[in-house]
């Protein structure tokens, strides 16, 4: 069984339900002792910015900022798509803890020897 897990997330405030559920599943993966990466791309890259998720709270779920905080504190990593980040003129000095801006090679390396993934 692979020791890795990838959650790919392309949404932020354009679909807060998707953004929230992605991090719930990521929390389940990291709590199950998988090396877990949330890959933020397209609109999802906006979640890499401190404060952006503060007002996202889907009914029946924990606030997104808490889900993200718990994920990183448990050892999860957040990869942020570099070209998507630059296209949106986001601030690399305002990243949430645990987030790093990466090119595709970093994701390819992580998934290279096999990693299940789920996309939102």
């Amino acid at each position: 069984m692979s020791s890795k897990f990838v959650v790919s997330l392309t949404s932020a405030k354009n679909d807060t339900d998707k953004a929230t559920v992605a991090f719930v599943v990521a929390n389940a993966a990291v709590a199950s002792e998988k090396k877990t990466v949330v890959f933020l791309s397209i609109e999802g890259t906006r979640l890499s910015q401190k404060g952006y998720a503060d007002d996202i709270h889907e009914e029946g779920f924990a606030p997104l900022k808490d889900l993200m905080k718990n994920f990183v504190e448990a050892g999860g990593q957040i990869f942020v798509c570099s070209p998507c980040f630059k296209k949106r003129s986001l601030d690399e000095n305002n990243l949430v803890p645990g987030a790093i801006i990466v090119g595709g090679a970093k994701l390819v390396e992580f998934m290279g020897d096999g990693a299940p993934s789920v996309s939102y």
């Binding site: 991090f23 719930v24 929390n27 389940a28 709590a31 779920f61 924990a62 889900l67």
Partner: protein, 92 residues
């Protein structure tokens, strides 16, 4: 949803076992439940937690999670939505 560290007895295995923590997780489920459960069990290696979880996914999730993480599910009481889990010793 408070953990109350204590030592008492419970019907796990049909015989008395010492309970080191009693956590009513209410309706927490999926990642919400697992991330918090991991944190609590990690703080009590070797101890036994009596967990109550009312999430409808828990009867499927918790046995799998215990297998994945090598924590021992001692008993599941579906009627009362209770689980007795022994925290593994080595959390490295």
């Amino acid at each position: 949803m408070e953990t109350s560290p204590r030592s008492t007895h419970s019907p796990a295995y049909g015989v008395a076992v010492n309970i080191d923590a009693d956590w009513d997780a209410g309706d927490l489920g999926c990642g919400h439940l697992l991330i918090e459960l991991r944190k609590r069990l990690k703080a009590m290696p070797g101890g036994v937690m009596q967990l109550t979880s009312r999430d409808p996914g828990s009867p499927y999730d918790l046995p799998v999670w215990c297998r994945l993480t090598q924590n021992e599910l001692l008993k599941h009481d579906p009627e009362n939505q209770r689980y007795w889990i022994r925290s593994k010793i080595n959390w490295d």
